[in-house]
């Protein structure tokens, strides 16, 4: 968050998904926060400043996880943060209405040997409604750490939480946390491994018991780490020893240890919480049966997403257009005051135009994030993911990736940003790479113009055909890229169906605002640079239209290649400008032919210069080639430079292959 956070005490928030961790984070930090990514991965990182009694603390929101294994990037991020001792205090947000499972993560954290842990026992109101009674004093004594009952949504308990955090950070409260104890054979093996490790420098940095337990579960990261200090022979010896214990239990030790951890938690819980009532079917279960049903579920899903789509684009598009207009007006009002022609162009067309382009996406992205946060908070997102799972899985994608695909029909920029809500890194990257292949509304403009001009009798059929081809290619690309390009196993489908809840509105808005600001910061630079580059290419050494500009020269240079798909330099130049915004493809033709924005005149001129087959290929290639710069910027913001480059190269290659194939097959068929 910049250098002003240096020296601040660090508070880390850990916890399961759906426990209200984000709501607590927003309540603690208010608007003083920052959303970004953890280095090198697509996992969202949120940081903020908490102020209490005149002192400031840096609050870091760790990814929500169920455990701390090495199998998921999110879990590794959280685990390494704790392991490296980066936090002065760890606040473990625990769902009181689902205590057993939540305490599993608590035990995983305590097992790492950290002392300064504070439990925020959240959703205490819901737990009480469900019949649970807590003895908080006893719970603190049993666990050996402070426990503060909270209801993040109403704000209850948060002041006390702040007070305890401050005291813990200042060393005024020091916990003496409990740690799980296992059966004798396991404990003996832990001791055995610990003894071996004690002779290594690992002792200085890590809790040896934790390393030993993780080694018993054959944790890949811990094996790698220990291997560096012990060497292969010693490691083989230990693993052989572990196999013998596994022989004894007739099971992998990860199961045995998890099992005993739950038994341990169960025994503890008896001491401080009265049992919940019997499990019975609730109204929410009845609703789930409908919402996850293959037929009714999909009908409800379509209704919800129609509403979401309407909300984002009906509300967002007019604001987007208004903002575009404001920047146009700003440009024209400034233009006369700048004498130097080059400077004027740079400022008005390049910079103001570029900033306008960036800002005009802001309302869409912001509204999208609000809609997504409402879906997540209300609990519906998990149901949507469940109902789409069977269909999306056929293409190697999880059910949730349906959401970015649908949003892409409106605009790929918010759609790419929406991949953030997927749970697994592989799925996030895969979904963002294929996203640009789904035609957005700007490409619809191009497709319908070409279909209307060249295929008046079959306009709809041709347009639908281009849509169908690109969606099919998106799904096939998911299969292809998932197999060959992106490592990582497909996540097995198991998802928590959280209680249906009314969203915490303030938290929803703060969270969406911060996420949108992150988009501006990261995608903005790419969009602005792109706008300036295109302005330069089209104005130097002479303005476009006379055949002298760099843009036209570039078009002529790549013409030999585009000719393979039957497209001349005009198409090449238009496609270059389409990178700014896809609707520019048609507008650029207008400039080259000197007819401006008259669509009728342009249609006639184009019809004289192109065959219907060429027009079809142009429509298809416009849909498939490079994502527009705003989308590239969004992919960079979410996935980093590497995946932005992959998206560019893959789309370029795919559109070339498809363009060349379709054109030549068309020629063979005599079209």
């Amino acid at each position: 968050m910049g250098s002003f956070t240096q020296g601040l005490k660090v508070i880390a928030l850990a916890g399961n998904p759906n426990v209200g961790k984000t709501t607590i984070f927003n309540a603690l930090t208010g608007l003083r926060q920052h959303v970004g990514n953890w280095p090198g991965v697509t996992v969202e990182k949120k940081e903020g400043i908490m102020e209490y009694k005149g002192e400031e603390f840096l609050v870091v929101d760790l990814p929500g996880t169920y455990s701390l294994t090495a199998h998921a990037v999110d879990e590794l991020v959280a685990r390494n943060f704790i392991l490296e001792g980066n936090a002065d205090v760890i606040v473990d947000v625990v769902d009181a209405s689902c205590l057993m499972r939540n305490l599993f993560l608590t035990m995983e954290i305590l097992e790492m040997g950290v002392k300064n842990v504070v439990i925020a026992l959240n959703k205490i109101d819901i737990a009480k409604k469900k019949g649970a009674r807590f003895d908080i004093k006893k719970m603190e004594k049993v666990l050996g750490i402070p426990v503060i009952p909270t209801n993040a949504k109403s704000g209850q308990g948060l002041d006390e939480l702040r007070r305890v955090i401050k005291a813990a950070a200042e060393g005024k409260i020091v916990g003496n946390p409990i740690s799980p104890v296992y059966d004798e054979p396991i404990e003996r093996e832990i001791e055995h491994v610990s003894k071996v490790l004690e002779g290594t420098p690992l002792v200085e940095k890590y809790n040896v018991r934790w390393l030993a337990i993780k080694l018993l579960t054959r944790d890949q990261e811990v094996i790698k780490l220990i291997l560096r200090y012990l060497g292969q022979t010693k490691m083989d010896e230990i693993l052989q020893h572990i196999s013998e214990v596994e022989e004894y239990y007739k099971r992998s030790l990860d199961i045995v240890i998890a099992n005993q951890k739950y038994e341990f938690i169960d025994k503890l819980m008896h001491q401080f919480v009265t049992h919940f009532g019997e499990v019975r079917e609730t109204l929410s279960d009845q609703l789930d049966k409908i919402l996850t049903h293959p037929v009714y579920g999909i009908i409800s899903l379509l209704a919800v997403f129609y509403a979401l789509f309407k909300f984002v684009f009906t509300l967002g598009t007019p604001i987007q257009e208004w903002l575009g207009g404001v920047f146009d007006a700003l440009g024209s009002s400034i233009a006369p005051h700048i004498g130097d022609e080059m400077l004027r162009g740079l400022i008005v067309d390049g910079m103001i135009g570029g900033v306008g382009a960036v800002l005009s996406f802001f309302p869409l992205v912001f509204l999208l994030f609000i809609a997504m946060a409402i879906l997540e908070d209300s609990g519906y997102m998990a149901r949507a993911a469940t109902v789409m799972e069977r269909i999306m899985r056929k293409f190697g994608l999880p059910g949730k990736s349906f959401i970015p695909m649908v949003l892409a029909f409106g605009c790929n920029v918010p759609a790419v940003m929406a991949t953030r809500t997927l749970d697994n890194e592989r799925d996030r990257i895969l979904t963002m790479l294929i996203n640009p292949l789904v035609p957005c509304s700007a490409r619809m403009v191009v497709i319908t113009f070409l279909a209307g001009a060249f295929f008046s009798a079959h306009q709809a059929l041709v347009a639908v055909g281009i849509y169908a081809i690109s969606i099919l290619l998106a799904l096939l690309s998911a299969l292809f890229l998932g197999k060959f390009l992106i490592k990582g196993e497909e996540s097995p489908f198991v998802i928590e169906l959280p209680d249906y809840l009314v969203p915490a509105w303030k938290s929803v808005i703060i969270h969406s605002w911060e996420r949108s600001k992150e988009f501006l910061r990261k995608a903005g630079t790419v969009i602005l640079a792109g706008a300036i580059a295109i302005w330069y290419l089209s104005n130097y050494p002479a303005p476009i239209g006379g055949g002298l500009s760099y843009a036209e020269k570039l078009g002529e240079a790549v013409e030999p290649f585009t000719k393979l798909m039957g497209l001349d330099w005009r198409a090449a130049v238009s496609l270059i400008f389409g990178i700014i915004a896809k609707e520019n493809v048609i507008a650029t033709y207008g400039i080259i032919y000197g007819v401006g924005e008259s669509e009728v005149a342009l249609a006639t001129l184009m019809k004289n210069a192109m065959t219907p087959l060429q027009a079809f290929v142009l429509g298809l290639v416009t849909t498939l080639y490079l994502p527009c710069i705003a989308t590239i910027g969004a992919i960079r913001a979410e996935g980093g430079n590497k995946w932005a480059a992959v998206a560019v190269i893959y789309n370029l290659a795919l559109s070339s292959i498809v363009g060349i194939l379709v054109y030549n097959i068309g020629l063979l068929l005599g079209l």
Binding site: T69, S97, R101, A258, D285, H293, V387, R390, E496
Partner: protein, 80 residues
């Protein structure tokens, strides 16, 4: 027969209860399930069986939706 008492989660019907006996499958899937609260000894109730669509099970107040693939990997002792 003792064997009759053991079924895969995927074979259970709506409203049935049971106790998880074992989890098959790779370490990734297994550890994910265990983190979410499914481990040997866990008492479950089937809210919705997977025909058609996903399985929904109850563990205490928690509800989990599972695909068929993973439901086949969870072994249950019926009726406990």
């Amino acid at each position: 027969m003792v064997m009759d008492m053991y079924v895969r989660l995927s074979q259970m019907h709506e409203g049935e209860t049971g106790i998880v006996v074992d989890i098959h499958g790779g370490p990734g899937a297994r550890q994910k399930l265990m983190g979410m609260g499914i481990t040997p000894g866990t008492r479950i109730m089937v809210i919705k069986s997977g025909r058609p669509g996903p399985y929904i099970i109850a563990i205490g107040n928690m509800r989990l939706a599972l695909g068929r693939g993973i439901a086949e990997k969870i072994l249950i002792r019926r009726g406990a």
